[in-house]
């Protein structure tokens, strides 16, 4: 019982109505934008609505678009949480983009809807510094507890590539003639 992408888009629009904005198709998958306040509700509908049937929780993550090279120079990207759901029966995908405030990123936890989001949220929290409210156990997953910073933010530079070692390829033959750099 495959649900074609166009139908899926229509159904999403029908079922979610005002709760989502900017619903469109992207490479055969439904893309919607959801405000954090509506996230849990939207996910519940997506999961429980039999016509939609997005029971399979694929992943939750985030994207830091602060250095994104937008076409429009005035556009400024922020932080967004990304949730991907999939319907195993109806075979269609939905990507939920949840824009957050960059300076105080707070997002409701979706562990109430999908229990499996627990680890995903823990990872996202430590990597992006996003606080998930109502998360049962929001401690670090990968990093040590005393780790400072949020590595996946674009402002976090990898030391190995920044200052630990010189790039061996930087040496130009011309410069080398002058005795290296």
């Amino acid at each position: 019982m495959r649900l074609e992408a166009d139908d899926a888009l229509d159904r999403v629009k029908g079922a979610l109505g005002e709760r989502v904005t900017d619903a469109h198709l992207n490479h055969g998958q439904v893309d919607v934008t959801v405000e954090p306040a509506n996230l849990v509700e939207v996910l519940t509908i997506l999961r429980d609505d039999i016509a939609l049937g997005c029971r399979f929780f694929t992943f939750l993550s985030a994207v830091d678009r602060s250095t994104f090279n937008f076409d429009d120079d005035n556009e400024q990207g922020g932080l967004e949480v990304l949730v991907h759901l999939y319907s195993p029966e109806k075979i269609w995908h939905v990507n939920l983009h949840v824009p957050l405030d960059f300076d105080t990123p707070v997002c409701p936890s979706i562990t109430g809807v999908f229990k499996g989001a627990e680890w995903h949220e823990r990872e996202t929290a430590e990597m992006f510094g996003i606080h998930f409210t109502d998360h049962p156990n929001l401690v670090t997953l990968y990093l040590s507890e005393d780790f400072e910073g949020h590595p996946m933010l674009k402002s976090f530079k990898l030391p190995a590539r920044s200052y630990v070692k010189d790039w061996p390829g930087a040496k130009d033959p011309d410069e080398a003639a002058a005795g290296g750099r």
């Binding site: 790039w167 061996p168 390829g169 040496k171 130009d172 033959p173 011309d174 003639a177």
Partner: protein
Amino acid sequence: MALDVDQRLERARRPGFGIGLLKGMRVLLKHLFKRNSVIQYPDVKQDLSPRTRGVIALKEENCTVCMLCARECPDWCIYIDSHKETLPPKREGGRPRKRNVLDRFAIDYALCMYCGICVEVCPYDALFWSREFEYAEYDIRQLTHEKEKLSDWMATVLPPTELEEGADIPGQPSKAAPAAAAATQTATPTAAATAATPASVTSSATEARPGQAQTAPREGTAATEAARPAASAPDAATTPAPETAKPAPGLAEEVKDQQMDSTAEARAEPEVKRDAGGAVEAEGSQAEVEDKAEAETPSTPESTAVTQTPPPAAAAPSRPAPRIEDLEQPEDAYARVLDEQSKAGSSPQVAEARAKVARVKAERAMTQARAAAPQEVAPTPEPSGAPGAAEPEPEQGPVAPTPEEKPDSSAPQAEASSPGEDPEAVFERVLEEERAKGSSDAVATARAKAARMRAGRGAGSAGPQEQEGTKGPND
């Protein structure tokens, strides 16, 4: 079908009554009496595939210090140092030429992830994979192999494997395919440098305006890469095509000079543009152009390697091929290198291997010198010492002329180097040559076949590629 699966599963889940235990024991008993397939490793070694990524070998004379490998390396484990040498002009009034000299080439195998990107990106076939893997050390610092050690690995490099039936061989060996595809993809008419035939290359060169120097060398790179196996001997790769085509030495000289001038022009423009991450935009174009200038020097790597002395660059500037009398007798070379190596403290095996390589090189140099001698100028592109390198194939004319070439010089060249020889004849000839050189039958046949293939491709593809080239500007 689903039901079927379920039924099978249910059957599998049914409890057994000890029969399963006995069946399991039977399997073990069966194996007790089977001949087993263990390879007693240090005594017996598995015949690894030629593509095995064991260690990277450096063919030093092919390296032009373009830094591509070091820049592309994901682990930053290649260290290259070099300096520039200014060579006197070949002719009175010419400009002094510059070339890069490799001072250090080291790969830190403690960092290397064996991805092979460096081997892949090398435009001059200076890096090869060898399947040797036994170079563990007690000290991690020993794992940084300097260029001498890397060059030693060259002796263990195997020729590339033949491809499976149905592989796309319109002439290009496997490696060329991506590059060729890449070349056709780009918009400029020079993209017609589908590289394989000099005809199309030169036609593209015709189109190239000096202003295109930015992109043109890149295409040239693609072309070189595409033609790699055909032209992997360094001098073959970089000797401009006109030379092979033109019998008159004077004219060849002229062309070279023109080339050199245009090279110098090209160099004047800023070419190397770095993006934010420091990657080089015009990948090694500068080095490439320089290399062409460098190619004018008649230094054959073989003689360099054999005599271990700087080539008599000034002595015979107009003669691309060394004279026979300059060359060492193969047996002498063998004895000398063996002697040198044992003095240098190499292990007997290494010394012997190196000496053998030297002998083979000397033999080949002799053969070529002989072939070249009567024709005075037109050199047969030399095969390199590398087993993986290709054999001479004069009929095809090595490629990669500088794109800045003058149209008038390229016109006759296009005619002259169009595939004149019948593939079968090429086959026979190469076979003869190989036998004369003392290659083993298998090697000789393989090389002859490869030559035939290329000849056939040259004949077949010239037309369509030409068309493609002409189509470009119309679009």
